[in-house]
Amino acid sequence: MTILLNENARILVQGITGREGLYHSERMYAYAKNVVAGTSPGHGGEWVLDYKVPVFDTVRDAKESTQADTSVIFVPAFHAADAIMESIEAEIGLIVCISEGIPIKDMLKVRALLEHSESRLIGPNSPGILTPGKAKAGIIPGSIALPGKVGVVSRSGTLTYEVVQALKKAGVGVSTCVGIGGDPIVGTSFVECLDLFESDPHTDQIVLIGEIGGNEEELAADFILNHVTKPVYAYIAGRTAPENRRMGHAGAIIEGKTGSARSKIESLLRAGVQLFSYPEEIAEIIRI
């Protein structure tokens, strides 16, 4: 089981001939051998990864020839919304967008299209999904996690690696690790991931890694209070962040009264979540 991604995933990489697309396709292939296709306009008919992976011009062609069901997007920001929409139109079930810097207007259109489709989008500005020992869709290093029963969901990249590796050092494994992305408008929310983890029989406990900006964590707290029975641990980054400055992630900004770390921490505490105050502390507080 696990959520979103398992050993049966057939991965398609959009932008597979680009520097990053190619590098990470190699990493994904090395991890689980399930990269089945790539797209790159004008490169249809070529092969990459030592003739193991065929390249197509369009997502629809790639899907028809290879039955790809999961797309990972590495195209530059100004083409990324277009790439997501191409996958939605081709009815790809799971779309994982790694690209960072997509204009918000484009993402609003993507979200409006998603409402009328069967596709699920993770990201953009996401490190992807890692289901340890089974598959990876994105850039999370496979070496940092053991297979196990803790679900991890986060808005950031390297901060997540830090937490997951701390778990590994303590001998604790992960069912699935999902990076929902650091942008203000993303395809899948904390709440949706919590819901999936709550119903996943292979997840026993959940770690949520949030940060300043928006109200995703407050909504997650409400959901946890009313719908989650499994223990939840959370970390919120940005307690020292100033107001009205974008802290790297486009979504990480305290605007007026919205988005402060304090508000998020208080909401999560009220929902019975155990907070940890620095990334490595998870290894000390998690019950095994």
């Binding site: 207007k105 390297t158 830090e162 650091g182 203000p184 802290m247 979504g251 490595e280």
Partner: protein, 381 residues
């Protein structure tokens, strides 16, 4: 990116939204010349990117030629919430009987723009929301279809706005939506939108924020961009595509990844000090970029220790180490530098840094923060 009032008003007037006659003055003499052209009374308005300009003395009414230069001087020589005033908007003073608020802003949770109308304009919308929430109405806009007139009528009707104003309100809202959509705005506000004695609507103040991610296709803004809100060091960091924000503490930090950079800042505070900056070198940083990053951090005279925290994924720790090694011999300030390398090629990185005894190495993030704070206090004492 936030636009100044005068910039927003240029766009308003381009789209047919009525605004008072005005001109932009760089000196008190220019202010007098502009006022003579448009006629008294005029309002002088400091063009700074800050709310509460009125309360801070940045907006003043001038009735005649005798007082204009003195008043302009007064504003030019003041600071509005710490920001110096370089330009004044000299604007015809307008009489009005009613003040509205009209805005479009992206709602993160709905993933839609929303149209907001209030019958109690003139104060900030957050304040209206607290004091008179019943005077605010809002509705989402379908981004695939755009704003339709019925949405505007629905809000106007709920707020009991006089029917004679619905048509101009629809026209102004339509213009506002065109600007929002064409310019990749994340927020546009007219506040106040006033009713003049002739029963027409006019935009007396305006705010616009443009999506930073869309600047690449909004070439107009590359020119109007006002960097006065950024420190010189922040502007320099931009040249190296470094995400750097100057803060008030004394532990400089360099991290790969925005979330981890924030977490590192928080660890510094938890260890008993404050971060001097936020700095994300991004993914896959080269040695050159690391060199530039360290040079920028230590330019801040407040910095008494540096904490470098790298969790190698795409970023290779050996590459980071090479970048550090390049700048260390040239450092004029003998600052304690704590380095914590983890992940991709961490062992190679640590080896490269072995010949530099001024570097303190740490295995965990929290330990690194504690060592940096301790070292910084020794330097200070």
């Amino acid at each position: 990116m936030k636009l100044h009032e005068y910039q927003a008003k240029l766009f308003f007037s381009r789209e047919g939204i009525p605004v008072p006659k005005s001109g932009l003055a760089n000196t008190p003499i220019e202010a007098r010349q502009i006022a003579a052209e448009i006629g008294y009374p005029v309002v002088l308005k400091a063009q700074v990117l800050s709310g509460g300009r009125g309360k801070a003395g940045g907006i003043r009414l001038v009735r005649g030629d005798a007082e204009i230069e003195t008043t302009a001087n007064l504003i030019f020589n003041s600071e509005i919430r710490g920001i110096p005033v370089h330009r004044l908007l000299v604007e015809k003073a307008i009489e009005f009987s009613q003040e509205f608020y009209l805005g479009i802003v992206n709602d993160r949770s709905l993933a839609k723009p929303i149209l907001i109308l209030s019958s109690s304009g003139g104060i900030e919308i957050e304040e209206i929301a607290l004091t008179a929430p019943e005077h605010i109405e809002k509705k989402p806009i379908n981004p695939l279809i755009g704003l339709q007139n019925y949405t505007v009528r629905a809000l106007a009707s709920k707020l009991g706005i006089d029917y004679s104003l619905w048509k101009p309100l629809q026209q102004i809202a339509a213009s506002l939506w065109r600007l929002f959509d064409q310019l990749d705005a994340t927020l546009i506000e007219i506040n106040p939108l006033v009713v003049t004695p002739e029963k027409t609507l006019m935009a007396l103040d305006g705010k616009m924020t443009i999506d930073d991610n869309a600047i690449f296709r909004q070439k107009d803004f590359l020119e109007v961009s006002d960097q006065t809100a950024e420190t010189p060091t922040e502007q320099e960091a931009k040249k190296f595509s470094l995400n750097y924000i100057q803060l008030n503490g004394n532990i400089g930090c360099m991290v790969n990844g925005a979330g981890l950079a924030m977490a590192t800042m928080d660890c510094i505070q938890q260890a008993g000090s404050e971060p001097a900056n936020f700095l994300d070198i991004g993914g896959g940083a080269t040695a050159d970029k690391v060199t530039a990053a360290l040079s920028i951090i230590i330019k801040d005279p407040k910095v008494t220790a540096v904490l470098i925290n790298i969790f190698g994924g795409i970023t290779r720790c050996d590459e980071v180490a090479r970048g550090l090694a390049a700048v260390l011999p040239e450092m004029r300030r003998a600052l304690p530098i704590v380095v914590r390398l983890e992940g991709t090629n961490a062992e190679e990185g640590k080896k490269i840094l072995e010949p530099y005894p001024q570097l303190l190495q740490a295995d965990t993030l929290m330990a690194a923060a504690e060592i940096a704070v301790r070292a910084s206090k020794q330097v200070a004492s």
